[in-house]
């Protein structure tokens, strides 16, 4: 049995006291331990932002890359390293804003990875500008008259784009979150989990209490294979915000037929070239 504490490292955590990221951080460790995954068997690809600092605060493999580009990195990792569990973890600005195009195409490609978006409905690290999910009317230093762009409903877009696993959880509900993380990690294919995460410093609208007062669980009998139903439920936002797995479907994964490489093939990839003369035949 793997224990949570195996994921602990000694880095000072640079999040604000009270930030929703802390509970995501703790929960992730629990989920991994529960799944009996050891630190070396998991890799986190992240972007830039508060959420994206995650790999620094765990003993885990990590690639903390560019703002918005965590998905392509994770996609390739999932394809060439079938022995690793790939988690892509970043903020709403990172994944839905700067990285929006990769989000859109990940649905189609269906790489075998879990995407955890810390959705605090704001740009945290850069001090509180609107993110694609910020509420209409929210005032910031840039959106001085209040946000006027329609907030993105990431679940709806994911469903429309063909994502094979679409779920939502809340940083304030660790039990549910841990369950969702485990389901996402175990899903074969692209598993998208939007995590409502209070930002105590910059988001004074969608506070812990705001979320707490609204979230509820999708019913036991919600049909996870029913796309239309998922779309209907994903539209709920405002007074009542459903948590849970909206949709799940098995589908071919990206590079599913690409073989698991042996250590030897990695170290001397030339071994594979067994029919060179045949290739050259084309050139005479």
């Amino acid at each position: 049995m793997v224990e949570k504490k195996e994921f602990q490292n000694n880095e000072e955590i640079a999040w604000c006291p009270g930030c929703g990221n802390f509970s995501i951080h703790a929960t992730l460790q629990g989920a991994l331990a529960d799944l009996d995954l050891e630190p070396h068997q998991v890799v986190i690809s992240s972007g830039i932002g508060q959420a994206a600092k995650m790999p620094h605060y765990l003993k885990i493999n990590g690639f903390n890359g560019l703002h918005g580009r965590a998905l392509p990195v994770g996609t390739a990792l999932a394809a060439v390293r079938k022995d690793l569990k790939v988690i892509v973890e970043s903020g709403d600005g990172d994944i839905y804003g700067e990285g929006g195009n990769h989000f859109l195409h990940a649905f189609r490609r269906n790489p075998d990875l879990a995407l955890f978006v810390h959705n605090n409905q704001v740009y945290g690290l850069t001090k509180g500008q609107a993110s694609p999910t910020s509420e209409l009317g929210m005032k910031t230093g840039v959106q001085v008259k209040g946000v006027s762009n329609l907030p993105l409903n990431p679940l709806l877009v994911a469903l429309a784009g063909g994502a094979s696993f679409v779920a939502r959880s809340f940083a304030g509900d660790r039990k549910h979150l841990q369950e969702m993380m485990k389901e996402a990690i175990q899903h074969k294919g692209f598993a998208f989990l939007d995590i409502l995460q209070p930002c105590v410093t910059f988001n004074k609208i969608n506070t812990f209490k705001w979320y707490k007062d609204r979230v509820y669980y999708l019913e036991e009998d919600h049909e996870k294979g029913n796309w239309e139903q998922a779309v209907r439920r994903a539209q709920e936002w405002g007074d009542r915000i459903p948590l849970g797995i909206f949709f799940r479907q098995e589908r071919n994964v990206f590079a599913g037929d690409f073989p698991e490489l042996s250590r030897e093939e990695v170290f001397d990839p030339r071994e594979r070239i067994y029919c060179w003369p045949e290739v050259l035949e084309n050139f005479k």
Partner: protein, 565 residues
């Protein structure tokens, strides 16, 4: 003896196929062949042409002079009539048009009509090639083999019929020296050579977004992917392409991406990411004329300064500009080794001229190729806890692949400590910068100085300086001028960054030199100036989107420095 056949018409008329068939026949007849392509950014219509040049001697340049012009439409005749010398001949479809006016010889033949008569509209080109073989006094045997390998059954029959008919229509009017029948020689384009290099060099992941003139490499690798377990993925954009390649490389496999200038622009941030995360990556930039969309299907050496300086901040990188097709193969493999050994981005700077030109090269020998994965370590025991960015003497840290039991690996795009964790303190920052940059010194030492050809520099009147695939035309021009009594040396740079040291520095400080670049501003020249060469005596440049040819170089040098000898 050099002979040049030009096939021209509109896009969709199959100039490429005709050119390739002819080139294959010539190759098998023992000639050295060089083909080049001039095409528009459209799928049908317009005007395109292909040149097939052959000789018993090696060559790697096009030429301005045409010996046989196969004009598949009247426009081709109008555009190219002046390239035919007095000895030249135009071949045309006599049912279509007839070339007017004085000048070159003319040979009409029924192409479309005859093809339809035989029952396959597509064989007009083969009929013309039969005629051309006869004109050149060449045996059809090799060509027939080419056709037999490509076609079968009825289609083959019709092709052979057309070929024979065309052959019978002609007269031997040129006498060409015999081919030398070099064994194992192949006809390969620059793009395919890069693809072959990637294949032999062990690339296991190639992600790219289509962009002329780099798409050939993507196509080649895609065609080989299944057979050799290379994962080839068309990304949603170039940003995804480079970040995927970095993910794959971090995962431990050899990874590569390719594009042209516009796509490279989008990759710039990723180049810096490779730099700070010390992730090995080979990036092909197949240049085309810019800025922005520019001339999509044409050639230029306009991105040299750009790729050397691309991305914010400072980090080491390597830039290699292969001199020709053969080098494109070997330099790609070397690029992969250098990327692994120094854990940094290596840029292969090619261009449309190199990528689309085919050249006869001695068979590539995969056995001669060494794979050097550098300080990739197999187990974590060498370092516990493992430090991805460990400070070392040479600035290169042992590289562990994630997945090793009991150990984890952390790569970071922020400034970081040895473990890969974000830091902000002044001391670690400075040490990390030094660690990264330190590698530049070692790299510089193994960069290869420019190739020198010609008389002892002391005895040369001028030294020509070129880089990349300009090598072929410049060297051909130099040799031709030598015959006219010029004394010219030639430095051709292939390793561009870091700029290798060598005798060239002193030579260019003391001798008058001629800079030859396929761009407007002389980008290599600026680099050389930084090394104290001062300015060239003469700058021969070209920025119309077309490659130099050997005879053009000869002509322009003569114009600039006056006749000699």
């Amino acid at each position: 003896m050099m002979f040049n056949i030009r096939v021209g018409g509109e896009a969709g008329q199959g100039m490429n196929t005709i050119g390739t068939l002819l080139a294959k026949s010539l190759l098998r007849l023992g000639y050295h062949v060089f083909t080049s392509k001039d095409y528009m950014s459209r799928i049908r219509g317009g005007h395109n042409y292909s040149d097939v040049r052959f000789s018993p001697e090696p060559q790697q340049s096009g030429t301005e002079k045409v010996d046989i012009l196969l004009a598949l439409n009247e426009e081709t005749w109008e555009i190219h009539r002046n390239t035919l010398g007095d000895e030249g001949i135009v071949v045309f479809d006599q049912d279509d048009f007839s070339p007017e006016g004085q000048g070159p010889k003319k040979k009409g033949i029924s192409l479309k009509k005859k093809a339809e008569e035989i029952g396959d509209r597509r064989i007009g080109g083969v009929i013309a090639l039969g005629l051309i073989h006869k004109m050149l006094g060449l045996d059809l045997k090799q060509f027939k083999k080419v056709l037999e390998e490509k076609f079968s059954g009825e289609i083959l029959e019709k092709n052979l019929q057309g070929l024979d008919w065309g052959y019978a229509e002609g007269e031997p009017i040129f006498s060409v020296s015999e081919g030398k029948g070099l064994k194992g020689t192949k006809l390969i384009s620059g793009n395919d050579a890069i693809g072959l290099g990637a294949l032999v060099g062990g690339v296991q992941f190639y992600s790219a977004y289509p962009m002329t003139p780099s798409t050939g490499v993507l196509n080649f690798l895609a065609s080989q992917g299944e057979r050799f377990n290379i994962l080839v993925e068309q990304a949603e954009d170039e940003i995804a392409a480079i970040n995927m390649a970095l993910g794959a490389s971090f995962g431990g496999v050899r990874a590569m991406t390719g594009t042209s200038g516009g796509g490279f622009s989008l990759m710039v941030e990723g180049v810096g990411l490779a730099g700070i995360t010390e992730t090995p990556l080979v990036i092909l930039n197949a240049q085309r004329p810019g800025p922005a969309t520019g001339l999509p299907t044409r050639t230029e050496q306009g991105d040299l300064g750009f790729v050397i300086h691309a991305a914010q901040g400072e980090f080491p990188r390597i830039v290699l500009a292969p001199r020709g097709v053969s080098e494109a193969f070997y330099q790609t493999i070397r690029a992969l080794n250098l990327a692994d050994r120094y854990q940094l981005p290596v840029i292969i700077l090619s261009d449309q001229f190199l990528g689309d030109s085919e050249q006869t090269v001695m068979e590539f020998d995969p056995e001669k190729v060494k794979i050097d994965r550098g300080k990739l370590i197999k187990t974590h025991e060498e370092e516990t806890p493992y430090l991805r960015y460990k400070f070392t003497e040479d600035g290169i840290s042992p590289r562990l692949i994630p997945g090793e039991k009991g150990e984890v690996v952390l790569a970071d795009s922020d400034e970081h400590n040895q473990a890969g964790n974000i830091i902000e303190d002044s001391e670690t920052r400075s040490k990390m910068v030094e660690k990264r940059m330190k590698r530049m010194e070692t790299i510089k030492e193994e960069m290869e100085p420019p190739l020198y050809e010609g008389p002892d520099p002391q005895n040369a009147d001028f030294i020509l300086v070129s880089w990349g695939a300009n090598y072929g035309p410049v060297e051909e021009g130099r040799k031709a001028l030598e015959e006219d009594g010029f004394k010219l040396g030639h430095y051709s740079f292939q390793d561009i960054w870091p700029l290798p040291g060598g005798n060239w520095e002193k030579t260019l400080q003391t001798k008058p030199w001629i800079l030859i670049e396929n761009n407007y501003s002389g980008q290599l020249g600026s680099l050389l100036k930084q090394n104290g060469t001062g300015s060239p005596e003469v700058f021969i440049r070209k920025y119309d989107g077309r490659p130099f040819t050997g005879d053009e170089i000869k002509r322009r040098i003569k114009e600039e420095v006056g006749p000699r000898g």
